[in-house]
């Protein structure tokens, strides 16, 4: 899948690639050997790509994570796993196209794979709300996770969503409860859970399938409490400041690793997963398999304990002096702000 969608900062690469194509055509038409020149340009492209992708700003990372040609959940399932048996529905209301799930085999592991799914075109995006799952999506995920747990199958979740679907029907069917119950129940499932953020990790909608024993994140994926646009709208009253917001939110894979919120950053091929999807899938499959190899050996009680402790230690605060009460009016009049 050659990348045809060009991000603004990828333009210099695209220009060189254009030049390379022209050179190939010229060489064919004129029957002149320009292989030296071609090799030189190919090397230049590699170098430029390496340079650009090693210096991405947080906002550019977000753009890579949202690249329309980036591999999505179904692409990874297809490339990393075999014998996929897709399972549908939450048994209560419907089947959410934005939440994909089923049994699959990766390496030597028979697992339950669950992930949020984006669309490639208008039609598929209408069906799956641009990757924003509905309450029935989260409930379907939980149903499948419980099924996996009953039969001792590890769980792999793939996260790529801008967030849970913000709509009237979402609220009416209680999206908050669907996510909250998943968070609670994922701490009780006695099988290994490997979580991989493969693209966008959009807030609570991502976390709704994001509790696990190993949290992986692809090099150019992001995971954030709020979208950069939403944050910009709050801080600067203008979504156009999304680039600044992306920087202050510390949402890149490297930042999350630094704060101890993810276990492993999975490298992507040079130029991002969209530049070489097959290679991206190979790298991710290796990381997931490694994690599963480790986790299947851990007794389930230990697994659950470690999972609890893992999330229990998340957060950074100050243990102040026990008797220190901040100055100011204790309990200012509650109607003051009304």
């Amino acid at each position: 899948m050659p990348s045809t969608y060009v991000l603004p900062f990828e333009k210099p690469i695209a220009e060189l690639e254009q030049k390379l194509r022209e050179l190939h055509r010229f060489s064919e038409e004129q029957d002149i050997d320009v292989s030296g020149e071609i090799r030189r340009i190919e090397e230049k492209i590699r170098e430029l790509r390496r340079k650009i992708y090693s210096e991405l700003t947080p906002w550019q990372q977000v753009q890579v994570a949202r690249h329309p040609q980036r591999p999505y959940t179904r692409d990874y399932i297809g490339a990393m796993m075999r014998e996929f048996v897709e399972l549908h529905g939450d048994r209560r209301f419907g089947d959410d196209a934005a939440m994909v799930g089923g049994f699959a085999t990766i390496g030597s592991h028979r697992v339950m794979v669950i992930g949020t799914q984006k669309g490639r075109d208008t039609k598929s995006n209408v069906r799956c709300h641009f990757g924003c799952a509905l309450p029935e999506g989260y409930r379907k995920a939980l149903r499948l996770m419980r099924l996996a747990a009953r039969f001792g199958r590890p769980i792999v979740t793939l996260i790529d969503t801008p967030g849970a679907y913000p709509g009237i029907e979402s609220e009416e069917r209680h999206i908050a409860e669907a996510i909250a119950v998943n968070l609670r129940e994922m701490f009780t499932l006695p099988v290994p859970i490997v979580v991989a953020v493969i693209g966008e990790g959009g807030s609570g909608g991502a976390l709704g399938i994001g509790v696990g024993d190993r949290i992986l994140i692809l090099e150019h994926a992001y995971y954030s409490v709020i979208s950069p646009e939403g944050c910009a709208a709050i801080l600067w009253k203008d979504r156009a400041y999304a680039d600044r917001a992306a920087a202050v939110l510390k949402l890149t894979a490297a930042d999350l690793r630094r704060f101890g919120l993810v276990d492993e950053v999975v490298p992507e091929p040079e130029g991002g997963a969209h530049a070489a999807p097959a290679m991206a899938a190979t790298l991710l499959a290796a990381a997931i398999t490694r994690a599963l190899d480790d986790l299947v050996r851990v007794p389930s009680a230990e697994l659950l304990d470690a999972r609890y402790r893992k999330f229990r230690q998340m957060g950074i605060w100050i243990e102040g002096a026990a008797d220190a009460v901040p100055p100011g009016p204790r309990d200012a009049d509650p109607a003051a702000g009304a």
Binding site: A164, P166, G167, I168, S170, E171, E172, H174, I175, A176, I179, A180, V181, L183, R184, E185, F187, T188, S203, G204, L207, Y223, S224, V225, C231, I234, L235, W236, V248, K250, L251, L256, F259, L261, Y308, R312, M314, G315, I316, W317, I318, E319, G320, A321, A322, A324, V325, P326, P327, G328, P329, R330, D331, A332, D333, P334, A335, A336, G337, A338
Partner: protein
């Protein structure tokens, strides 16, 4: 109906904010009436005209729900750090200092042990006045410790929720508090202990999508805004007209998402009654006061 072909004459009085002496009177967002602030305080911060529930301070809430002198605060010494070194129009540090100054509290939740009727409970009271009741590391940690201690001491948990969601200024550290608090809920639940969530105006987003919705019984105050996504976001994303009363406590009750909507004056009675039924079997239930 113009019976005599005459237009009704109205005397319109425009009351501008600056006409109202600051602090003495307050305009009710429910009915627009100007209410005497002292009268409001005596009426549990409920508008005498329309029953609009104003926010309560933590001290008022604790006084409303618990037995006199039964409250002992836990983990009051936790302070928010600024791990992201967050700067926007103003910095997180400045925002924290300002909110500590105006509320007199170090963060957005107070937790402690208390007695509600005959029941020794673990009580959390969130405060929307402190950075919108948002959940950062401190709120998440205090709620988690509250629930863990309740599990260890076999107490029921009662949390009075009020929050705009996860605290943006601590980024992903805030989001993970949703998982952390939910994990504590799982263990408390596994121990066979009850948890009652009281949703007050407003309870939304990350808090709603974690411990606020995990109560065995969930009750809400009348008119409270309760939901996951904000109404503006929903309108912008879906281009849909929102139904009347959307995301109010009553709307949720109609849709089967709440156990009850309870007026503030009845809240303590209802809590005691629920705890009477939910108190763990085998635990000593003190006889009600004569």
């Amino acid at each position: 109906m113009a019976l005599f072909g005459k237009k009704t004459r109205y005397t319109s009085v425009t009351v501008r904010k600056r006409d109202i002496p600051d602090g003495l009177w307050v305009k009710c967002p429910g009915c627009g009436e100007i209410v005497y602030r002292n009268a409001l305080a005596e009426a549990l911060q409920v508008c005498p005209k329309c029953q609009y529930h104003f926010p309560m301070s933590r001290a008022e809430r604790i006084a409303l729900l618990t037995e006199p002198a039964s409250w002992s605060e836990w983990d009051a010494h936790l302070r928010s750090a600024d791990p992201l070194e967050f700067t926007g129009a103003t910095s997180y540090r400045e925002k924290l200092e300002e909110n500590i100054r105006t509320t007199g509290h170090p963060d957005a939740v107070s937790c402690g042990g208390a007695r509600i009727g005959p029941h020794e409970v673990a009580l959390g009271v969130m405060d929307f006045a402190f950075l919108g009741g948002s959940m950062g590391s401190v709120v998440g940690e205090k709620i988690t410790r509250l629930i863990e201690r309740a599990t260890a001491e076999r107490r029921p948990v009662v949390i009075v929720c009020a929050s705009g969601g996860a605290r943006m200024y601590e980024g992903m550290l805030s989001l993970m508090q949703m998982a952390k608090t939910s994990a504590a809920c799982a263990r408390h639940r596994d121990a066979g202990l009850p948890y009652i969530a009281v949703l007050t105006n407003p309870t939304t987003a990350g808090v709603m999508a974690s411990f606020a919705t995990l109560g065995d019984v969930i009750i809400a105050e009348p008119g409270a805004l309760i939901g996951f996504a904000g109404p503006r976001v929903i309108r912008e994303t879906t281009q849909q007209e929102l139904p009347p009363g959307f995301q109010t406590a009553e709307f949720l009750l109609d849709h089967g998402l709440l156990d009850a909507v309870v007026h503030r004056r009845d809240l303590k009675t209802v809590l005691i009654r629920l705890l009477d039924y939910l108190a763990p079997a085998g635990a000593a239930v003190p006889a009600p006061a004569p």
